[in-house]
Symmetry: C2
Subunit: 367 residues, 2 copies
Amino acid sequence: MSSRESVSADAAERHEKAGNTVAATIKDIAKKTGLGLATISSYLNGGNVREKNRILIEAAIEELHFEVNEVARGLKTNQTKTIGVVIPELNNVFCAEIITGIEDIMRNHGYALVICDCRTDPLRECDAVEFLYRKRVDGLINMPVNQDGRHLKPFMDAGKPIVLLDRKLNGVDCDSVLVDNLEAAKQAVNIFLQNGHRRIGMIGGPAEIYTGQERLTGYRLGLMEAGITPEERLIALGDYTIRGGMRCMRELIEHNPDMTAVFVANYEMTMGAVIGMNEMGIHMADDISVIGFDNGEFARACKPRLMIVSQPTREIAERAADLMLTRLKESANAKDEGAVSISRRRGRIIKLPTSMTEGKSVRNITE
Amino acid sequence: MSSRESVSADAAERHEKAGNTVAATIKDIAKKTGLGLATISSYLNGGNVREKNRILIEAAIEELHFEVNEVARGLKTNQTKTIGVVIPELNNVFCAEIITGIEDIMRNHGYALVICDCRTDPLRECDAVEFLYRKRVDGLINMPVNQDGRHLKPFMDAGKPIVLLDRKLNGVDCDSVLVDNLEAAKQAVNIFLQNGHRRIGMIGGPAEIYTGQERLTGYRLGLMEAGITPEERLIALGDYTIRGGMRCMRELIEHNPDMTAVFVANYEMTMGAVIGMNEMGIHMADDISVIGFDNGEFARACKPRLMIVSQPTREIAERAADLMLTRLKESANAKDEGAVSISRRRGRIIKLPTSMTEGKSVRNITE
DNA sequence: TATAGAACTCGTAACGTTTCGGTTTGTTGT
DNA sequence: ACAACAAACCGAAACGTTACGAGTTCTATA
């Protein structure tokens, strides 16, 4: 017993000895205050302790610069207070803005965000998810690239919460935060119609991506409701890249000399479309009216200022974080009740409205 | 003892009982193979085991779906295989591009990146660093907002590696990855000079930020080497925001009717400058020649295409990751030798060259 | 003032690894 | 066949928490 004494010197002694700081542990606090381990732990976790002990503990914590070891806690509680995030492209303002928002909120709740960029590659996305699973993050936030939700399996099986961003996955029952893409596209088309346009082109996203489908459907619906039959040659499908946007715009213009307006269905392609027009010497508004997507900053920098569909990134972030936080709380509580409640849960789907941001890129051709 | 037996059923049994998967542990593998704990651990960490045992172990791992618990390992080894990243703005393409690059490399080495956006707020930056420290990340990558390196103290004291991005901190001895801002600005000025410009304006960054200082100095030097005395009224200092860029461009134009060219010292302000010119009805190149900074995509979308200084984000990322990885290895090895070697280390500073990306935004006014 | 009940405290046993020192097994050269 | 040595193996003790059940101290009521 005496040997034990001499071996486990408290933090202060160790400090002296090593010549530099060694983190104090809960044991050091217990020893210093004369209280038991469990009492300290209870205090640290918001439990009640007698006033005089509270003072004692706080003094000891102060003096020894104690900080709880979150790794040890994590081992015991089986949670890392860490959320994994997998997105297609970090250097994509739409993604980045949402992530920033989520990060802010989650950090305020003690959660760290581990971010993985899968570069729009389904394989990389799988890798990233597995990586995060091995890192034992408590939940996953994902703007999915894979069509089926196969890559989500590890988290599904483990019953860990998943929140999908921007894109719904058919046949996958997950919490998701989306925008009303259909309505957004319809609005854009309507603005063109109100300004007298009839031959309206669309630069759409990949047919296999949710947002691409929805926005295209909205475009078609908008036209049909005005009694116009959508024509295939007025539709060009790009791959959500700048290059794709340039190509589509060129195609559209070449095949449709009579086209007066174009709706572009994401930010990168909007940029590409603008570049394409510049290079072809075609003037926005004067020659062809344009409504783009996302990124108000780019829109303001265009000449003339570009009208765009704006997505509520701030709110998307808030909703996603809320959803995650709720699920996290649920699974914490679920320890008490039967584990069934978790597996029985159904994914909540939140659909937020977009808004139009004014610009000068749509010409009124009625007069 | 018999009670102990019945309590610690192996993973397979537990699996059956609970009705859903329970992670197998190293103990389960030991039991299944009849080998000792230490042997399994040794195998997992790349140690040598006898061929037949290797096969045994691998089979057991396969069968029980064993995966090492990185949290438990972290508790024991005192490292989380996690790196903290603190940046001023995630939705800033320059930042985002560097982070993506770093993330890719670090993940390939088993490190996760915990990213914190401090919104260019020194206080938030301090918070973020403390947060990461409590999360016990193994190292810190930071594009600093605070002037003095005070916010880095926790990591300094703990002897945990720090890599600074983009900005050097005076009096702080840290590994840093920078670009040659001075030379970049000189190059831009020289291009203007070669095209016959003499009255060259500059939209510079905040006086207290490293890159702002360097780029301004480069501008001054470039002029002086050509025998031109820099004039204060040709210099407008912004705050690296779009709004600031707009304001500066307006000021410059109002105060200098004879100005023929402007160099803008970061991306956001470049965008702002372009917007400002658009709104004032001033044409790029024709009226005023412009060289901007960063973001080739934006430059390509401008009309006429904007000439810019390009920073090698890919290489910045590589160097930063390399630096971090090396330091990490060093501190791992340092356990053997005296701890002195760590504290004695001096910060390595890597300075990378920028390049000019062609555009049509500089007019030759000699003819 | 005694006492029931609540409120607080305690020791011990986990959580799943790694590591230390010592033991066993295998290999080589004679 | 046997020493001598290396390589592989082993159990137990950590790492710093939390959680359980039981024990202790308060507080309020009779």
